[in-house]
Structure formats: C-alpha cells, structure tokens
C-alpha cells in the first residue's frame, strides 16, 4: 500500500486537532502506521508503545473518535492493521489493572484489621469492609496466633465497619469465635447494625455462642468485668493455697 507519508502527516495531525504533548505522540503514531516497512517485526512493538502512550494521554473515547475521523477521511489509511495491536494493548492494560487490584486486595487485610491490646489481657479487633473468604482467613489466623501467644482472656470483635453479613461471612465469624473459645478466651461481639441484625435473623445465622454488647463501651465494661472476676477467683485460689488470712483488697497475688 502506497501512502505519501511525508506530505500527509502534518495534515492528518491538523485533522485530529492535536496540540502540545499529544501532537508529538500523534506524529510518532502516524509515522509508525504509515511507514512502508509496516510488516517489519520491530514495527508493531514501536507502534504499541506510542499507541499506549497516546491512549494514556487522550483516553479511549477521544482516541476512538479521532481514529474514526481519520479513517473516514482517508479510506486508504491502514487502520485495520491497527486492530490487532489495539486489542493487544487493551489486553495488557486490563491485565495490568487486574494485577494492581490483586495487589491492593492483598494489602487490604493488613490495613483493615489492626489487633489492638486495649486492656490487660484484652484484645480489640475492628473488622472493616466485606469479609471475603480469601482474606478473612488471614485475619482469623493472625488473631488466633495473637490470642494464643499472649495471655488474652477476652477478645472484643467490632463489626461496625462490616456493611453486610451473609451466610459465608457469618459462617466465617462463627468458626473464628469457636476457635478463639477453644484457646480459652471469651469473645464479645459488638457493632451489629440494625439492618444487619434484621438480615441475620432472616438468614438464621446465630451468634449466641458469644456475648453480644450494644456498643464498644458496653463491650469494654463487660470485658473488664470478666477479667476482674477472673482475678478475684485467682486471688481466692491463692489464699486457699497459701492459707493466708489477708483481706481481699490486699495487693495482687499472682499464681
């Protein structure tokens, strides 16, 4: 296909009304598709590069519009050859985006779930976002590790930031709660929103194996009560063992 490249490129650029930065890119792009050694193996690579830059600069819609104008005005322009390259570029861009999303997704569990020691022997986990099974698993693992590694007696689980609990998420939470209890800690659940409560009842998801608190304040109070109770029992036991007659309010006796 013969096309008088040298004369026309400037004209074509005027037709697409490119200015400034994009003008240079259009020039490279047009030069690439108009160059006679189009079938050369090196060419598609170069074309791909210019085209992706152009795409990034102008956006798909504007680029499509402009290529359409060129194709209409110049039927002899080898636009169809571009199709292959464009599909390839779009595929690559999509792949790149998917990769980014996957990477971000992997970062989310770390960001969304700090495990905070909020009181003596008490941990707070604030779950945020949709607990999709993939990373819900990593939350549970980290929490269980932490509970078993420390002297945690009570775990406060706050689900204020969880917009929806379906049976998969509910099942995950139930499993996690049971596992925590197997490690000898109590779970206090808080932050269930009214609309979520409604849904849970309809679904038949039952969290009654754990203590439920109306808000974080209530949860903290309940947790402290459990720990105080534990301490009291420990002290009584210490007295029995040592046979001491000291009063209950005496200093801490840890055994």
């Amino acid at each position: 296909m013969e096309f008088k490249a040298h004369i026309k490129i400037e004209e074509l650029i005027n037709e697409v009304a490119a200015t400034g930065k994009t003008k240079k890119l259009w020039y490279e792009f047009l030069a690439a598709i108009l160059s006679p050694d189009n079938k050369d193996k090196k060419q598609p690579e170069q074309l791909k590069e210019t085209l992706s830059l152009l795409l990034a600069e102008t956006g798909e819609e504007a680029l499509t519009e402009k290529i359409k104008v060129l194709a209409e005005n110049h039927p002899d322009l080898p636009i169809t050859d571009l199709l292959f390259t464009i599909i390839k570029i779009c595929g690559e861009i999509r792949k790149e985006h998917e990769q980014t999303i996957t990477n971000l997704r992997r970062m989310l569990p770390e960001l969304a779930t700090p495990i905070i020691r909020i009181w003596t022997d008490m941990l707070l986990v604030a779950l945020i976002g949709n607990l999709d099974s993939q990373w819900a698993q990593s939350i549970a693992e980290r929490l269980l590790d932490r509970v078993s590694a420390t002297r945690t007696k009570v775990v406060l689980v706050d689900v204020t930031g969880v917009p929806m609990i379906d049976t998969a998420v509910g099942g995950f939470l139930i499993e996690m709660f049971n596992a925590i209890r197997f490690l000898g800690a109590e779970v206090i659940l808080t932050g269930i929103k009214p609309e979520v409560a409604h849904t849970l009842v309809k679904l038949g998801v039952d969290f009654r194996m754990v203590t439920i608190a109306r808000d974080l304040e209530d949860a903290l109070r309940k947790g402290i009560a459990i720990i105080a109770d534990e301490k009291k029992k420990r002290r009584q036991l210490a007295r029995v063992i040592t046979g001491s007659r000291e009063s209950e309010d005496d200093g801490e006796l840890e055994i």
Binding site: A168, G170, G171, E195, T199, V205
Partner: protein
Amino acid sequence: MFDIAKVYESPADDFDVFIRITREEDIAVARQMAKQLAQEAGFSLADVTKIATAVSELARNIYRYAGQGKIMLKKKTEEKEGPYLEIIASDQGPGIADIDLVMTKGYTTYERSLGIGLTGVKRLMDSFAIYSEVGKGTVVIAGKKGRKF
C-alpha cells in the same frame, strides 16, 4: 416446562444490572451493584441490606457449585406500589437433583458452609422460585417489594 437455557441467554439490555460471575471477586461486585440499584429504586436501608445479602448468597452459590453464571437485576419503580426489584440468578452448572433437599435448612455439600443460604434467600425476599435440571443448570428468581409508607 421452564426453559433454563432461555433464561441463561437473556439479553443484557433487558436488565438494569447484568453481571457475569466467574471469579470470587465478582461476588463482591454483584453485591455492591445490587446495593446501589436497590438504593436508587428507593428501598429502605433494611431492605437494601436484605437484597444485597440475597444477591451475595446467590452469586456465591453460582461461584461455588456451577463455577460461572449470571446475576441479573431489574427494578420497577411505581409510585403507588412502592419499589420492586427482581433478582435472577442463572447458571449452566451441574443442576440440582433434589430441590426439596437443598431447600432444607442445614443441608450443604460444601465443606465450610452453614447450609442456610438458599433458605435464607427465600426468607429475605418476598417471592422465590427455583428451577433446576441435572446437567442443564439452575435458575433462581426472587423478588422484593418495598414497603409503601
């Protein structure tokens, strides 16, 4: 006879939301889009959550048991009647041999499941129908009416 294949081939233009479920991430997308559509249609917050949860359950079922399929949503907003939303979940998976059995609370073939998803969806929604044929696939059609005030 209900035509499962025909529902699966429904054109996307007939619906407000049309999502292909092929990956686990698509479940979250379906749920999010259902939520948005229900909000636009004028459902109450409780109903929006119920609809999103039902879509989440159905999408997860598709992903788990059929591998892939479609979630289609259509809204109707008539001022007198209040909002109405229809969910169609369609797949060409293995199908269900005994529908009564899967509609039993606690029944599941999936290892880590509570087995209350489908019955849960039925209770979350106002209308519920399931059609399935072994080897052809499954269609669930569920509708939710908004309360009028």
